[in-house]
Amino acid sequence: MNALYLAFAYLRYHWGRSVILTLVAALILFVPIATQILLSSSERALVARGEATPLLLGSRGSQLDLTMAALYFSDERPDPIPMREVEAIWDSGLAVPIPVHTAFSSAGFRIVGTTLDYFAFRNLEIADGRGLSVLGDAVIGSGVAATLGKGIGDTLVSAPENLFDLDGVYPLEMPIVGVLAPTNAPDDQAIFVDIKTAWVIQGIGHGHEDVVTAAQIASGSDTVANAAVVQYQRITEVNIGSFHFHGSQDGFPTSAVIVVPNDTRSATILKGRYLDTEGPTQIVEPAGVIQGLVDRIFRIKSLLDVVTAIIAIAALAAIGLAVFLSYRLRAREIATAVKLGARRGMVLRLLSAETFTLLLISTCIAAAGAIIVSRNAEAWVGWLLALGS
């Protein structure tokens, strides 16, 4: 007890050196633990999103691009597939298909055009406002709301798809009607609209001044309106009636389709229907694709572990050197203690108590840090994953 008291008094007297040694030791302990927690959380988050999405239908090509675009709303742009693929799955009665249209963005966040079934499928809840109701409505994730500082009553404008398609893709102003509760998933960083609104952004549907008269309809004549015809860039109560779509909805595009089979048998039958490698579409199991990605990440993690171990050994050696040098500096002080009658064991106990106290404080700091990381890991990982997309 006396040894601990004297050790603490010594450390307090040399507080500068003690603080540095404590922080360095705490960091050596904290970094590998925090890395492990974050990587485990990342793995859980990635795999959970994949496992929560039974099947994914999309154009044939990179399975990872398709999965990242449909599940994480990344910048990848898989070739679109026609909505008749969605109808084909409905008609099969084997699964519920949920289209996901992710071609556009606004203010740096992905616009996700989908159906109301998506919200039920992901258990997304409205924290403020209401859900999608009419063409043009937008519901934003909690991350979008926090980053842009926007909420109910504000508006978002879709960004043109590219600078060379200014005529084809008109910016559409969309009122924000709802904000989703946080989920710590990519949904927090997305802007949700009805897929029909995404088609309006794409120019497949639009509203404009009336260019066709009843007489022209009666005569079945062709009408050509020039570019001066006003196309609405905002859907309001007044002009919503003029919005219409051209062609059959079966041919309209979607980036991917989340497929929720009725049971294992239905899933097997569906997977069998898309085995033809010459076909334009493929069906993938996101869990498998994500697991492959996670395995790759964890191969990199092994490398990181080695690097961390080397750094830890070097840091421990540096601490050992610092302690050794401090003992050398204290040689006269120790000799005086021995002359005063202190036994070698007593001196050893004093030095051990100092080291023990340092390590104890370092461990406490590292543990506190690890607890903070652990408690926030889900949110931070969600943010990091969204940042990555």
Binding site: S133, L135, G220, T223, A225, H244
Partner: protein
């Protein structure tokens, strides 16, 4: 209070079904009986084809277990609102090949190229054989969603289809002598009815149940002269003065409700049968 509470709880437990017109509401009620609450939310004074639902209306529709659509371009509001696809049923998806194309207009604007707006006749239920197909789709959807026991739905479907077949047979018999006779309709709603029973119907664009103005009467007179038609079909009963004005042109008036809304005092079958009977009565023998 307890009884009221139990009643409300029972109503909430029942399946909720929403339809876009009265015939589909009638069919759904016949198939589901008291096991479900079937609603048709469009106010009586609004044409269901062009209803503009409020946000509250849309929320109510979204909350239904089954949303029954007519298809064939009926109820265009459906294209402008967000509805859960898993709850939607297009009752005419299987009979697209029997649709009647009414008009097609091609136009272009900007540099987007030209495109066509194709019109479809949408009052399918005025042909009972098409209504039969709609009831089959509806029954299949009810069973698929487990909204009622399979045996009950099958029994109700058989009865309903027998009624529709009887209605069709009665209409065929009653209107047999109208083949080759031209009728004028105040509104273009009778395409499927005319096709089913071999009638020739020429349509105008009058407002349902309203007093026609002078120009409209002049149009009617010219049309009557050109087609030698002597029967005028009204979608809804107009003021008595309208009947007098058209009668003065030598036309016999028949109110033939299109049944997009229900008609007071009659079910779908009763109103339809009554209208067919009224038409048969005024037709030249």
């Amino acid at each position: 209070m307890i009884v009221l509470g139990a009643t409300l709880a029972g109503a909430q437990d029942r399946a909720q079904v929403t339809t876009v017109n009265y015939p589909l509401q009638y069919f759904a009620q016949r198939l589901l009986g008291d096991g479900a609450q079937v609603t048709f939310p469009v106010p009586r004074d609004v044409d269901p084809s062009f209803w503009r639902p409020s946000i509250a209306d849309i929320s109510a529709v979204q909350a239904a277990d089954l949303i029954v659509l007519n298809g064939a371009g009926f109820a265009t509001w459906v294209d402008r609102v967000s509805l859960p696809r898993s709850k939607l049923l297009n009752t005419s998806a299987a009979i697209k090949d029997r649709f009647i194309v009414t008009e097609s207009i091609t136009h272009s604007h900007g540099d987007g190229g030209s495109h066509s707006h194709e019109g479809l006749a949408s009052y399918l239920w005025l042909d009972p054989t098409l209504a039969l197909a709609q009831t089959e789709a509806l029954a299949a959807a009810i069973v698929a969603r487990s909204l009622a026991p399979v045996e009950d739905v099958a029994a109700q479907l058989a009865t309903l289809q027998a009624d529709l077949e009887a209605l069709d047979a009665a209409a065929q018999s009653a209107l047999d002598h109208l083949t080759g006779v031209t009728l004028i309709a105040t509104h273009p709603r009778y395409h499927y009815f005319a096709r089913r029973y071999g009638l020739t119907v020429v349509s105008m664009e009058w407002e349902a149940g309203a007093m026609p103005n002078k120009a409209e009467l002049a149009q009617l007179e010219a049309l009557s002269r050109d087609t030698e038609a002597t029967i005028l079909l009204w979608e809804a009963e107009p003021p008595a003065a309208a009947f007098e004005a058209t009668a003065a042109l030598g036309l016999r008036n028949v109110v033939f409700p299109t049944l997009a809304h229900s008609v007071d005092g009659g079910t779908f079958l009763e109103t339809y049968a009554g209208a067919v009977s009224a038409l048969a009565d005024v037709a030249p023998k």
